[in-house]
């Protein structure tokens, strides 16, 4: 039993993360005498930031699996989703549930368009061309947003139900920081079930392995690829909406840093693996929040954490925590 757990990468990684959290807690409670309730609050914040990262990271990893490319525009799709949130909530005054649905439905259109016009024409081109096209798509979205919406930050209205603070045993939570992790896990389970157990899910994995032979099986690979972008962008939209309830300022460049970090999360977890992306997201989110909480004097470097982690992972295990290079028989 114990041996079996130790041979499972996922189980080992989860245990390691829990252990690190425990050590951090011991350190926090002894060295800097942080009360348990405050630690718990930081932990919740870390979990909810981690879930947001996870939602965005899934999009990177799914597109990578199916097209072997990094969709550099993904962070900007996240940014666009926040503008959609702003317009539905502030301009059209929609109730937030309706706005949420609209944002989750509209954002994928941007994803589909980018795939259709920036990536599909280059399907048979060298990988570098697609990469450059992705960077171009990213600039296009950033500049289009600046042109259309202006560079000055827009502020999302408060959603009282989500931003309400509740306290349990003197630990204060924003409702949204509990909603986000629950939502993320629900989405993760649904997504994994979809990919593992439906006909379309099998087709998706087949396309990921071999476009040509998937076509010979009768799979419409363009539809599967569009679907991948739809899923990725709608998860980014869900993440964006929730992000907006916590960090309400919206600017055209705001997708860059979360986009980069979530890309790092996907690589750290093992690019191509959805569970890995989620785990990477949690590691980054928790790490960032806990470092700021424990070492306030280096909090200015909080963004560096992701990239230091990236370098370490690339040196130690380039395929990421859950990544394994599949051996192929020739």
């Amino acid at each position: 039993m114990a041996g079996k757990i130790l041979r499972n990468n996922l189980a080992v990684a989860v245990l390691a993360i829990l252990l690190v959290i425990l050590l951090v807690y011991v350190y926090a409670s002894t060295a800097i005498k942080m009360p348990g309730s405050v630690f718990l609050q930081h932990l919740t914040n870390g979990l909810s930031l981690g879930s947001l990262f996870a939602l965005i990271a899934i999009g990177y990893t799914m597109v990578y699996t199916i097209l072997s490319m990094i969709n550099f525009a993904h962070g900007d799709i996240f940014m666009i989703s926040l503008y959609f949130a702003f317009f539905t909530l502030s301009v059209f005054n929609m109730p937030w549930v309706l706005a949420f649905v609209c944002v989750a439905a509209l954002t994928p259109i941007v994803g589909i368009l980018i795939e259709r016009f920036a990536y599909r024409p280059l399907r048979d081109a060298p990988k570098n061309s697609v990469l450059i096209s992705a960077i171009g798509a990213s600039f296009l979205l950033e500049n289009a947003a600046t042109y259309l919406f202006g560079g000055r930050p827009k502020v999302l209205p408060d959603i009282p139900l989500l931003s309400r603070v509740i306290s349990i045993h003197s630990v204060n939570f924003q409702v949204v920081s509990i909603v986000i992790p629950i939502l993320t896990f629900a989405i993760l389970i649904a997504l994994i079930n979809f990919i593992n157990h439906t006909k379309t899910g099998i087709a998706m994995r087949a396309v990921a392995k071999d476009h040509e032979i998937a076509r010979v099986m009768g799979v419409n690979i363009n539809r599967i690829i569009s679907l991948t972008f739809i899923i990725g962008s709608s998860l980014a939209a869900v993440g964006g909406f929730m992000w907006g309830t916590r960090y309400p300022g919206i600017t055209p460049m705001m997708g860059v840093m979360p986009g980069l970090k979530c890309f790092v999360a996907a690589v750290v977890g093992g690019i191509g693996d959805i569970k890995g992306a989620v785990m990477g997201g949690f590691i980054l989110g928790l790490g960032e929040i806990l470092i700021v909480a424990l070492f306030p004097n280096i909090s200015g470097y909080r963004d560096a954490f992701a990239f230091i982690l990236l370098i370490i992972i690339l040196l130690v295990k380039p395929t990421g925590i859950l990544g394994s290079k599949a051996r192929e028989k020739v």
């Binding site: 099998i202 087709a203 990921a208 040509e212 032979i213 010979v216 099986m217 799979v219 028989k329």
Partner: protein, 243 residues
Amino acid sequence: MLKVENLVVNYGGITAINNISFDVPDKQIVALIGANGAGKSTTLRSVIGLTKPKSGSIEYNGESIYGLDSQLIVSKGITLTPEGRRIFANLTVLENIKIGAYLRRDEDGVKSDQKWVYELFPILEKRSWQMAGTLSGGEQQMLAVARALMSRPKLLMMDEPSLGLAPIIVNNIFAIIKEINKNGVTILLIEQNANMALKIADKGYVMETGKITAAGTGEELLNDPHVKAAYLGAAAGKKKGRL
């Protein structure tokens, strides 16, 4: 059933197939033999739409399938077991078999065909939950054939199904090809193992550097002195050496 006329295929500036014509009659086994690089695989890839030809015509049951999308071509009942197996290594054996039936809507038929391919290849049933990438080479070849059969093809094109298999398995594969054919499936077979292929073939074509240089019944080609010299003696010897 399949009629190819004046087919020309270029890769960049290089002509891989230079004006070939052949036909595959209904319910027969047709063998296509030839040296490495002759253009055999390219021919099959063009028929199924993976490679876009430059000119010519490809008719299937009197209907042009030239230039159509692969997805549409396979929906008409053509399938391919590709060169080098190319099973989906990241899917289980059962999922590979299921995706073979991707376009079918008749669930009962799919179930009974699944039983049929498991009867043809009992080892696959034992391995059905295993990742296909962990199968042995021979098992992967069987899976590639099983996957193709699951679409219930009318025309099955096979690109070197015996490549890299032990002699006993090769015999097995050829027996199964005959059985599939008895079930009413037309077969277009590419083989380096010219001797065995021509023995089971109703009809054969010999390709050399992008051209068809000989045609006839399997028997005629087996006795053709040029074919004998170029493909039978030498090819059989080379095959044995490699195994």
